[in-house]
């Protein structure tokens, strides 16, 4: 085999890969939305009045953060059917991504909550605000801007971890490239194109997220930019 880039083949497979890229984006968005919600549960689980529960949740988060996503994906996909729960590749992939990044995001949330001065909590208590109003009205608007960079980074990270779902036959970019390579025995173009698509999409999403970040900061009146 020698190195020869075939342009006609490239243009032939480009639509297939672009279609698969849409699946990748869907997987990222769904998985990450799930992660944003699961992260809140992990955070709340560490801030209960029960010390044992807090420690247990803390250790679970540590466990999820230090184990490979690949093993977690396999675990969800292959173990659930043993207990009578039949999960499709997509469902188990989304669960694995959601739990994995949920653990990371709970750390981001935790870090952001630490940036809120104690006095803010005390003031809420002095004003007799309910827990909901304390969080929604006072704490979250202040905690959101410092957590935005972390949330954005992990979004791009999540996007770049979706190829792992190809191992459980989720049809996304890498899987599409694999199938193309195995049917035509040409691996150069599919993998290179898949890599380029990932590169452009992650650069674009990083740029979009930067704008969103700035918008949110401005909307919340926290426009203190460190340049």
């Amino acid at each position: 085999m020698t190195f020869d880039w075939q342009w006609d083949y490239t243009f032939q497979i480009l639509p297939v890969l672009l279609g698969a890229a849409v699946n990748t984006v869907i997987a990222t968005v769904v998985g990450y939305t799930l992660a944003l919600i699961i992260g809140v549960f992990f955070l709340v689980g560490q801030r209960t009045p029960y010390r044992i529960l807090n420690r247990a949740v803390r250790e679970i988060v540590e466990f999820i953060r230090t184990t490979p996503l690949l093993a977690q994906v396999f675990f969800v996909f292959y173990v659930a059917p043993d207990y009578g729960i039949l999960l499709s590749p997509w469902t188990s992939g989304m669960i694995a991504l959601g739990v994995h990044y949920g653990a990371y995001l709970s750390e981001v949330y935790r870090g952001a909550l630490y940036t809120i001065p104690r006095q803010q909590w005390e003031a809420c208590r002095a004003l007799n605000l309910s827990a909901t109003r304390t969080y929604v009205g006072v704490i979250l608007p202040q905690a959101l801007p410092p957590s935005m960079p972390g949330i954005n980074n992990y979004f791009v990270g999540c996007f770049k971890d979706t190829p792992i779902l190809a191992t459980i036959t989720v049809y996304e970019l890498l899987n599409a490239a694999n199938v193309l390579g195995q049917t035509t025995y040409r691996f150069l173009e599919p993998y290179t194109l898949a890599g380029l698509l990932f590169l452009t999409l992650s650069l674009i999403s990083a740029a979009i997220l930067k704008i969103v970040d700035r918008r949110i900061r401005r909307a919340l009146g926290a426009d203190i930019y460190k340049e």
Binding site: M1, T2, F3, E62, F63, T66, T67, P68, L69, L70, A71, Q72, F74, F75, Y78, V79, P81, D82, K160, D161, T162, P163, I164, A166, T167, L173, L174, A177, N178, G181, F187, L188, Y191, T192, A194, G195, F198, L199, S202, L203
Partner: protein, 222 residues
């Protein structure tokens, strides 16, 4: 069959898998750390061509998934006439990735050194190499240790991906065991536990200790 029986029945496979993982991981982390310092210094070079190329390399590696890089190296390198053993492909992918991601961390650590330190070096007329070696790097490394510990934990996790190109690491062995025995919970649970124990009980404490002893070496009491 209990879990103990499962472990004893497959212990030899699991142990060889752990050894392969540790071997490939440690080699690529050492090489990757060296590579990261090289790339970081190249990125800070005054020559725009060198720094431009280094930054482009970092951006390309950081913008693409490690799994795609791995498959690309595995399938496409032979087209350039480079035939590598699978293990080397795995090491190469991990080293290439760590040098790019690590260089960003190193540059961040160097940037975190206060301006006054740099100005003092200029005032003392220290040579740039001497300035790096004696003043900036020792302080940057102290900042670097905890971040590097986190990064290496990330890469221990990433190293499981090499099983997908047929390297017989611990993930590969346990996947094979699962394939043969259909004991999914036991096999993948073991894999999770092994990765967790390595990072929780080896990597993290070692880096905490390293950070402490480096601080003592610099005469900083924390």
């Amino acid at each position: 069959m209990s879990y103990i029986q499962f472990l004893s029945a497959h212990s030899s496979f699991i142990l060889t898998g752990i050894l392969v993982t540790l071997k490939i991981y440690s080699i690529s982390m050492v090489l990757g750390t060296i590579g990261a310092f090289v790339i970081a210094f190249l990125c800070m070079s005054r020559n725009p061509v060198i720094s431009g190329l280094a930054i482009a390399y970092v951006e390309v590696i950081r913008g693409t998934p490690l799994l795609i890089q791995l498959f690309w190296l595995f399938y496409v390198l032979p087209l350039f006439g480079v035939y590598l053993q699978d293990n080397f492909t795995g090491v190469l992918a991990l080293v290439a990735s760590l040098s790019a991601w690590g260089s960003v961390v190193i540059r961040g650590a160097i940037d975190s050194i206060p301006r006054g330190q740099w100005e003092a070096c200029v005032a003392l007329n220290l040579h740039p190499i001497r300035r790096m070696q004696r003043i900036i790097l020792p302080q940057a490394i102290l900042v670097l240790f905890p971040m590097w510990g986190n990064l290496l934990v990330e890469y221990l996790k990433h190293s499981s991906l090499i099983s997908l190109i047929g390297i017989t690491d611990v993930m590969y062995q346990l996947k094979t065991i699962q394939y043969n025995t259909f004991k999914s919970a036991e096999s993948f649970g073991t894999a999770l536990l092994i990765y967790y124990s390595i990072s929780r009980f080896c990597l993290t404490p070692v880096f905490r200790q390293l950070e402490k002893s480096w601080a003592r070496h610099l005469g900083i009491v924390q």
